[in-house]
């Protein structure tokens, strides 16, 4: 239909993050341009694993007080649309959702990771624990950044596979990273999102260039920001319980998920660390890595 070509068509971007390939479609041109600039160095796949759609919730909201609905192959029934100014966050949430609900090739851990000497440090915790900021900081000082949101465990080899999407910095972490990374690596500041202020940061060049390269898990940390400095050993049983909760596809993978998870838990030492400043955390991580990994 002729009238449809301009009216119904989607602006499109294809990007590959680690092993996962995405097609992102948008009703508006600007979000795709922003994403293309930030994901500039990433490979462009021909067949995507997932489609993410940035649609208007209604025809009206496409033009007036514009809103973006988070949509795609996999979606949540009651997802609330975001203001148009937060389209980049909508794309991020859409990509996360596809991975969380659709990815079955690896055991998916909600965790961040960095690598050194072919071995991976994996950090997991609730939102606000500082795992994302910590991985970004370590990525600036001698570690290879592997991902701030998901770590993929290969069920056959047990290797941690990187997922180095754009780093999603929140609130205080934005200023902390602005002191460390060049301004050109940052996306626009989004204020007043459901998660507070958000600014995306392009991962270091080596993180993108080596995103096909896995690493053997060597240390698991449960960081917690805002508490007096403390290190506590985490027993395998507790580790297992916390990691099954941190995995979005553990149950869906059935026996393969159980085998991958138990192998992972048995093979890495685990510590819970509390800290009050990022300098303190980096120092603590280096010390534990030297001793345990």
């Amino acid at each position: 239909m002729g009238w449809c070509t301009g009216f119904c068509s989607m602006h499109e971007l294809r990007i590959q993050v680690g092993p996962a390939a995405f097609r992102i479609g948008s009703r508006w041109r600007a979000p795709i341009d922003q994403l293309a600039a930030l994901y500039y160095g990433y490979p462009m796949p021909d067949i995507p694993d997932f489609t993410v759609r940035l649609d208007a919730p209604s025809l009206l909201r496409r033009y007036v007080r514009r809103q973006v609905a988070i949509d795609g192959d996999y979606m949540l029934p009651d997802a609330v649309p975001l203001p148009y100014a937060q389209a980049l966050l909508a794309a991020e949430m859409g990509m996360n959702l596809q991975m969380a609900l659709g990815w079955r090739r690896h055991l998916l851990l909600h965790a961040s990771a960095v690598e050194r000497d072919g071995r991976a440090l994996i950090m997991t915790g609730l939102s606000g624990s500082g795992k994302s900021t910590l991985s970004a900081l370590l990525g600036q000082c001698g570690w290879r950044f592997m991902g701030d949101e998901f770590v993929l465990l290969d069920p056959d080899s047990g290797m941690a596979v990187p997922f180095p999407r754009l780093i999603s910095l929140k609130n205080e972490a934005i200023a902390a990273m602005q002191a460390e990374a060049a301004e050109g690596r940052f996306g626009p500041l989004m204020q007043g999102t459901p998660k507070g202020d958000i600014r995306h940061l392009v991962p270091p060049a080596d993180a993108i260039a080596r995103m096909g390269e896995g690493a053997q898990p060597a240390l698991l940390l449960f960081p917690r920001f805002g508490h007096a400095s403390l290190v506590r050993e985490v027993a395998p049983g507790e580790c297992f319980m916390r990691m099954t909760q941190a995995s979005t596809n553990y149950v869906a993978l059935g026996e393969a998920g159980f085998v991958a998870m138990t192998r992972f838990i048995k093979s890495v030492p685990a510590r819970a660390i509390d800290y009050e400043s990022s300098d303190e955390a980096v120092e603590l991580v280096e010390r534990l890595w030297g001793r345990l990994a």
């Binding site: 067949i47 995507p48 694993d49 759609r53 059935g254």
Partner: protein
């Protein structure tokens, strides 16, 4: 870009049609299959085809996911059977869970969401009470109008959701809303239903939620129920056709039509099927669904069943209203079928009252 979901229909009917697909074609096919909840079925159909490497990985994911859904669906059925162990009547599994439990081809790779069961209408109160008290299910909707509407006019109880496992169960007592014009013989369906050869397919052990809290004993560790049932071969087909043609707006219709295609392939007594459909006042729906399955999926049906009705083209237009992004298309056609679904479901007076109540609620 592909015009509509005929791409998906072709791939399901004849997997060899995918051999000429380029990257854009595969991209559209996968998005459509996911949107129609047919990706697991497609993965099953394409299991012998040589496909691009990334497509193979996507289809492998879909198979893992279908296995997971089947495992969970059978486990839900098992939990329902345990909760209903003291209920003396028949508990009949329906739709996806039934196809998988009975090992039918319609179950291969099929997406399964809620658990659907059917019991005798007179026993609804007893079954509902057992599911809530012994099984741990609870009401989803608090709305008194919706609740009363379900109980007065529908073919099922208001949906119940399990408080730990977050899974829904629909308890049916017949296969069409009570307000619909055809009145199937629900009692006759229960009478002819067949016991399943096995129960749930899952061994002992607690519900997943119990596994997380090991000190809570299972409320019903030694089930003594008579087991679960499935509808007879012809009643399964008639239910599928009723669900597709005589109820609802054909959303997700390609999947239901694939069920129809598979179910029809497992029977060969067309005379008896027609007689049974007439007995349930559902011959027009069965005939229409069989014609559409023949037209789209190449289902083998008798020559005398094949003459097209004028409306078939409209049904096909509605069923394939999907683009390569996974968006629904053809708004006007879809709206027409939406209105039709309400028209079929309710006599004019009830419909007017229903729409009035819903409209007022929206404005509040």
């Amino acid at each position: 870009m592909t015009r509509d979901a005929m791409l998906l229909v072709d791939a399901l009917r004849n997997p060899a049609t995918t051999r000429t697909l380029d990257a854009a074609g595969w991209t559209a096919l996968i998005a459509m299959a996911r949107a129609e909840q047919l990706i697991g079925t497609l993965a099953h159909r394409l299991s012998d085809e040589v496909v691009p490497e990334r497509v193979a990985a996507i289809l492998a994911d879909a198979r893992i996911n279908a296995d997971y859904q089947h495992r969970s669906a059978l486990w839900e059925a098992e939990c329902a059977a345990r909760a209903l162990a003291d209920y003396p009547g028949k508990v009949v599994l329906m739709k996806g869970t039934a196809y998988v439990a009975a090992g039918l081809s319609a179950g291969e790779g099929r997406h399964i969401g809620d658990l659907d069961i059917m019991v005798a209408r007179d026993d609804l109160a007893q079954v509902e009470a057992l599911l809530i008290e012994k099984g741990g299910w609870e009401w989803v909707k608090e709305d008194p109008y919706d609740d009363a509407y379900y109980r007065d006019h529908m073919h099922e109880l208001p949906p119940l959701i399990h408080k730990d496992r977050d899974r829904m169960i629909d308890v049916h007592h017949t296969i069409l809303p009570l307000t619909a014009r055809p009145t199937p013989n629900a009692g006759g369906m229960l009478d002819l239903s067949k016991p399943l050869p096995f129960r749930g397919g899952v061994g002992g052990g607690g519900c997943r939620s119990d596994a997380v809290r090991p000190n809570k004993p299972h409320p019903n560790p030694s089930p003594k129920g008579e087991g679960l049932f499935v509808l007879s071969l012809h009643d399964r087909i008639i239910h599928c056709a009723a669900h597709l043609i005589a109820d609802g707006d054909l959303a997700g219709g390609l999947r239901n039509l694939w069920d129809m295609h598979c179910l029809l392939g497992e029977q060969d007594d067309w005379v008896a099927l027609k007689a049974r459909a007439e007995h349930h006042q559902l011959w027009p729906a069965v005939h229409c669904a069989a014609r559409l399955a023949h037209r789209l999926y190449g289902t083998d049906i008798p020559q005398s069943w094949r003459q097209d009705a004028l409306s078939d083209a409209l049904f096909i237009r509605r069923l394939t209203a999907r683009d390569g992004w996974g968006h629904q298309t053809r708004k006007v056609t879809r709206l027409a079928f939406y209105i039709r679904s309400h028209w079929l479901r309710m006599p004019p007076l009830i419909l007017a009252r229903h729409l009035w109540t819903k409209w007022r609620k929206q404005r509040r």
